[in-house]
């Protein structure tokens, strides 16, 4: 039995919105209503133009593994029984970067440059995370 997952428990409104979308099965990211620049992690201001007007748009979910590692012990208690596991940084088509894991793929086959797509996955009861799998 693994320790419970570390759970996002934010207080910032934008963070709450992101995770509520994921809980509803959607990966949405913020897009500036004035200049169209996407941003992630969520935040109230567009760094490109200073605008506070933004929309939550559905991400395509497609991207490329930008960086990748296979993690061995020691690590967080929740992941101790899962080692070795792969962790990645994915560059989404929209140009933003997200940290994640690649499912349905042996850890040592996850590689930088690999095309992936998002899969919202319930990792334990009541917790859905945006994970990735190799694009078909």
């Amino acid at each position: 039995m693994s320790a419970a997952y570390p759970r996002p428990d934010p207080v910032a409104e934008d963070d709450l919105r992101f995770w509520a979308n994921v809980a509803a099965g959607e990966l949405r990211i913020q897009r500036c209503a004035d200049c169209g620049t996407h941003r992630h992690p969520p935040r109230p201001i567009c760094a490109a133009c200073g605008s506070t007007a933004g929309d939550w748009v559905p991400a395509s979910g497609r991207g490329e593994v930008w960086a990748s590692t296979v993690i061995h012990p020691p690590t967080l208690a929740a992941f101790a029984s899962r080692t070795p596991y792969a962790a990645v940084v994915v560059r989404l088509e929209e140009g933003v970067f997200v940290v994640g894991n690649v499912v349905d793929c042996p850890p040592d086959e996850v590689a930088v440059g690999m095309p992936v797509e998002v899969t919202i996955t319930e990792v334990e009861p009541g917790l859905r995370l945006p994970l990735f799998r190799a694009s078909r």
Binding site: Y5, R7, P41, I71, P74, L76, F97, N101, V112, L127
Partner: protein
């Protein structure tokens, strides 16, 4: 303008689980720095450290009997500030705000040394994050990315992909530093290793192996900065602060932003690449003039990144630079971390690199670079960070 100089260096023993408070360790290192300079602790009128430093200025003033503190400052994040704390001390002296400023760091880092629930109260910060994530950890921890090793491994993987850097390049730097440490009686790791030993050390987060990692230990370091004029009258040859820079790049603990700005490898105004130009222009020298480099490296990957971004080699050439032996004392063109660095001497959050630069310029290092006149020190490259150039006063 008054020129600033380092006049004193002090450090405690470095060891695992020393069973002493960080205040106690800090006091010992600061007293040692004053003793080294030949000054009373009552002469101290400024204190600079990291924002994560748990030893409060007010406690040092009370415990050490510092009567007249005129300058207190902190740098952002962690090991990125290793050179900047010296730089800020020098700024205060140059400006006349204070005359005798101590930059210090005290650390209970070993697992067993954790003394409180706060992530910065000893031990491993990431292991104390809890399972309800409020801050930027919410973007990393649910995916099992928590320790600095995980973050640096991801950065390293990108460097390997873009430039063809190999994990062995990091291993070669680990071997060089452990060789340097084997010659340093103050080092925790006194036995040298081979590249095969590095290959046999357990993987932490690919490509990072155990021997690439900074040690987990306790200890403290202090350096005393005063005017060059005053330093010339003190116990040891003065070491001038020739130039300093800081830069506010994103940090490895926020990987989405880190990769978003591509600051990882410096392709961005505002990172180490542009800071380096300012640094060398200030001193009127070039990277080729540097005799010895102290590069703060939470993991050995930080060494090639810094070598490239500060202009000691071409972008992407850090691995081959190490492979060619350039960073290894005594024959390398640019010996790096001659005290043994964070994986050999000790991990004092990078601040133990400062006294080694001073020893090199005094001519008293264990692995002395012959005739060293110009030393470079930079904080951890993947933080808000900075660098200093120090010169022998000859």
């Amino acid at each position: 303008m008054t020129r600033a100089a380092v006049a004193g260096i002090g450090q405690t023993t470095y060891a695992k689980d020393m069973g002493r408070t960080e205040l106690d360790l800090a006091c010992e290192a600061i007293q040692a720095a004053c003793e080294d300079a030949g000054l009373s602790v009552t002469a101290i009128d400024g204190l600079v450290s990291y924002h994560v430093e748990q030893v409060a200025e007010v406690d040092l003033a009370t415990v050490l009997g510092i009567p007249d503190l005129r300058l207190m400052a902190r740098t952002p994040s962690g090991g990125g500030g290793a050179a900047s704390i010296l730089g800020i001390a020098a700024l205060a002296v140059e400006r006349g705000v204070a005359e005798c400023v101590v930059a210090f760091r005290a650390r209970s880092r070993s697992k067993a040394a954790s003394y409180g629930d706060d992530p910065n109260e000893g031990g491993r910060p990431w292991a104390k994050a809890g399972d309800r994530l409020r801050d930027s950890r919410q973007w990393h921890h649910p995916f099992g990315v928590a320790a600095p090793a995980h973050e640096f491994a991801l950065i390293a993987s990108r460097h390997m992909h873009v430039y063809g850097t190999r994990a062995e390049h990091f291993g070669m730097q680990a071997v060089a530093q452990r060789f340097h440490a084997s010659r340093n009686p103050d080092a925790i790791m006194r036995n040298p290793i081979t590249l095969d030993d590095w290959r046999a050390s357990r993987p932490i987060a690919d490509p990072i192996r155990l021997f690439d990692c900074s040690l987990e230990n306790d200890g403290a370091v202090a350096v005393l900065v005063t005017s060059l004029e005053r330093a010339r009258d003190l116990r040891h040859p003065a070491v001038s602060v020739l130039a300093q820079v800081q830069y506010g790049a994103p940090i490895h603990t926020q990987l989405c932003e880190f990769f978003g700005t591509t600051a990882a490898f410096g392709e961005r105004a505002g990172g180490a690449v542009s800071a380096s130009r300012r640094l060398f222009a200030q001193a009127g020298v070039t990277p080729g003039d540097v005799d010895v480099a102290l590069i703060v490296e939470p993991f050995t990957i930080a060494v090639p990144l810094a070598l490239e971004q500060y202009g000691f080699c071409e972008r992407g050439a850090g691995g081959p630079f190490i492979e060619g032996g350039a960073t290894r004392w005594p024959d390398g063109a640019l010996p790096v971390n001659t005290h043994g660095g964070s994986n050999g001497e000790a991990f004092i959050h990078g601040v133990n690199h400062l006294p080694e630069a001073v020893r090199q310029l005094r001519g008293t290092a264990c692995s002395q670079v012959d005739g060293a006149e110009l030393a470079f020190v930079c904080g951890a490259i993947s933080d808000p960070s900075g660098a200093v150039l120090l010169g022998a006063d000859r």
